[in-house]
């Protein structure tokens, strides 16, 4: 039995090693490619890069926009598009600007690389994402963390 466990551990080791230190880096849209490879950046909110992921072909990324508009909790879909560089994505808002201006919004991004996970909560402002308040996590953000970030953003904008 011990031998079986050892074999299993050895078998899983490459997958674990390939995702060791897996994390997300958040940056401005310009970071997705300052050359001409990015075909369209208008409406882009920010860029995401998957770090320390050797299995980029199987990596996955997703997310939602979470907001408070007129006192009500809202969720909205995002547009996430691959940029010119491998593992780099451009996140764009899919909700209308008027709604953005009326309320406060954060974007919750999560990604997987093999069995490893990573996440980030990115507060949004009229000028773009709020770098100083962005939180990078070693897992997808919980609902409580998103709510907390929204409350903090709401308080900061009042």
């Amino acid at each position: 039995m011990e031998m079986v466990k050892l074999l299993l551990a050895c078998a899983l080791l490459p997958a674990a090693a390939s995702a060791a230190g897996f994390s997300l880096t958040i940056g401005p849209p310009v970071a997705a490619g300052t050359g001409t490879k990015v075909t369209k950046s208008r409406g882009a909110s920010f860029a995401v890069r998957l770090e320390e992921c050797e299995a980029l072909d199987t990596a996955q990324i997703g997310g939602t926009a979470e907001g408070i508009v007129d006192g009500e909790r809202r969720s909205a879909a995002l547009m996430i598009a691959a940029a010119g560089s491998p593992g780099v994505y451009v996140v764009s808002q899919a909700w209308d600007q008027a709604t953005q201006n009326r309320g406060v919004w954060v974007v919750s991004v999560n990604a997987t690389c093999g069995k490893a996970t990573a996440g980030a909560i990115v507060p949004m402002a009229a000028q773009g994402f709020v770098r100083d308040a962005t939180k990078v996590l070693p897992r997808p953000a919980t609902k409580a963390e998103v709510d907390s970030a929204l409350k903090a953003l709401d308080a900061a904008t009042r």
Partner: protein
């Protein structure tokens, strides 16, 4: 019946009858005068018909001359019109205008708001190039198009749209200021280039071109020192101020400075960038200091994550 006819008396016909009969006979046998039309007349007529036909065909089938829609507002008056290639649009102190960048081949790619006291000219509208000239005044562009499709020429630079929104000013002396609010713009002029992302600005000067870009939230001391360095031969003291005032985000400014300072000062700029953001993997210090284009590009793309 035959006998009755035979018994009728013979009466001589009047002379007038014979006269009229002879006149009729003369008319019917007189030859018509021959009308002669020379060959060249027929040729001219044929050419004329062909030319008229071709002109009509061309006018019916030619593509419309490129034009952008313009709405001009002067007080309470709103006027709708168009601006065509080669035409100028000028606003006075009480009027402003909005140009819609539309073209049958590229569709609607954005708008240009033309502020009062501004003079612009439509330079080109082709599938791969939409170009405006800002002679003086201020415009606000909001463009949703593939990169390097929309250009704004000013007396000291060309703003190359990379998918963005920005304002561009030019004064009577040709000095300009670009301020980007969304996406990024490349300012190019005589081989000199400045990349200006959202939240950043860049001044331009005739005969010099684009200055060094800076973030709008950079310290005033940094912005003033850059003005000295770019356009007033500020030299080392201006660079000292910029280095001392730079934050992590200001590596945008420092990266541009690296290739603009004198060779003797390059190492100081390099060291300050590395102090603020460690040199990323794949970027060689030696090559960066030699201003190797590929190395600088790679470095810039890494630094951009901090902008």
């Amino acid at each position: 019946m035959k006998d009755e006819l035979r018994d009728l008396p013979l009466v001589k016909a009047p002379d007038s009858i014979w006269t009229s009969i002879e006149a009729s006979l003369d008319t019917s046998i007189k030859p018509q005068p021959r009308t002669w039309r020379p060959a060249w007349a027929w040729a001219i007529a044929a050419v004329a018909v062909a030319v008229l036909g071709a002109a009509a065909w061309y006018s019916l089938t030619r593509p419309p001359k490129p034009a952008w829609d313009v709405v001009r507002v002067d007080g309470k008056l709103t006027e709708h019109g168009k601006i065509q290639v080669g035409e100028w649009l000028q606003t006075d102190s009480s009027s402003h205008a909005r140009i819609t960048l539309n073209n049958p081949s590229v569709g609607d790619i954005g708008t240009i708001d033309v502020a009062p006291n501004t003079r612009v000219r439509m330079v080109a509208s082709r599938p791969g190039e939409q170009r405006l000239r800002l002679a003086r005044g201020e415009i606000s562009a909001s463009v949703s198009a593939p990169p390097r499709l929309f250009f704004v020429d000013t007396p000291a630079s060309t703003a190359v749209d990379l998918g963005c929104a920005y304002t561009m000013k030019a004064d009577e002396d040709g000095n300009g200021l670009l301020r980007v609010t969304l996406g990024w713009v490349s300012l190019e002029w005589a081989g000199r280039e400045a990349l200006v992302p959202a939240g950043a600005s860049c001044r331009t000067h005739p005969k010099i071109g684009p200055g060094t870009p800076y973030f709008d939230d950079a310290s005033q001391a940094l912005q003033d020192a850059l003005g000295e360095f770019d356009f007033s031969s500020g030299g080392e003291s201006a660079v000292d101020t910029v280095l001392a005032e730079a934050r992590v985000r200001d590596t945008l400014t420092l990266w541009h400075l690296l290739s603009r300072v004198e060779p003797a000062g390059r190492l100081r700029v390099y060291n300050r960038i590395v102090d603020l953001v460690p040199l990323p993997k794949g970027v060689s210090a030696d090559r960066a200091l030699q201003l190797d284009p590929e190395t600088l590009k790679l470095w810039r793309e890494e630094l951009a994550w901090k902008w």
